[in-house]
């Protein structure tokens, strides 16, 4: 199948940007999914690590881009127990 595709691409070279952009888009969305999967948003191991979002410091930023939020001034709110 790859042989057919590359043969057809050679005769229609204008299609190369199509592959570039579609491939780039797939890579970017996959990379974002992987970033979310490794972050503290999901609990993968219910017995070993049930609430990973509780293990992060109060000043840590999990969002990709935060507008108007000074993360350095935050502190833990509730009392310890």
């Amino acid at each position: 199948m790859l042989g057919t595709v590359s043969r057809q691409l050679k005769s229609h070279p204008a299609l190369v940007p199509l592959f570039v952009f579609i491939g780039g888009g797939m890579c970017m969305s996959g990379a974002y999914l992987v970033r979310l999967a490794f972050g503290p948003h999901v609990s993968w191991n219910r017995n070993g690590n049930p609430e990973p979002w509780n293990k992060t410091a109060p000043t840590e930023q999990h969002k990709f881009y935060a507008v108007n939020m000074d993360y350095s001034k935050l502190k833990k709110e509730g009392p310890d127990f």
Binding site: P40, P50, E51, W53, N54, T56, P58, T59, E60, Q61, H62, K63, A66, M69, Y71, L74, E77, G78, P79, D80, F81
Partner: protein
């Protein structure tokens, strides 16, 4: 520590920003505070200490959570079928 918590509870206006839950969907924030309230009660009363500091979590989840959810979870706790770990 406890008198600053008392002061925080007295000056409570609304739930503060929680960096663990930065996005629009605050469902988990609500559930986490509900769980923390009950865990705090259980832990402090097991240690024999005053459970007044746990009121912070109570205020926060009352701010965040829909009343129907809180009522359902309270019923589940009484019936013993609450799915969260307390």
């Amino acid at each position: 520590m406890s008198d600053t918590v008392e002061k925080k509870i007295k000056n409570y206006r609304t739930a503060p920003f929680d960096a663990r839950f930065p996005n629009t969907n605050q469902t988990r924030n609500c559930f986490q505070n509900y769980l923390d309230f009950h865990r705090c009660n259980k832990a402090l009363s097991a240690k024999g200490q005053d459970v007044a500091p746990c009121d912070w979590y109570h205020r926060v989840y009352k701010t965040m959570c829909p009343m129907s959810w809180v009522a359902k979870w309270d019923d589940q706790i009484e019936a013993g079928s609450f799915p969260g770990k307390i």
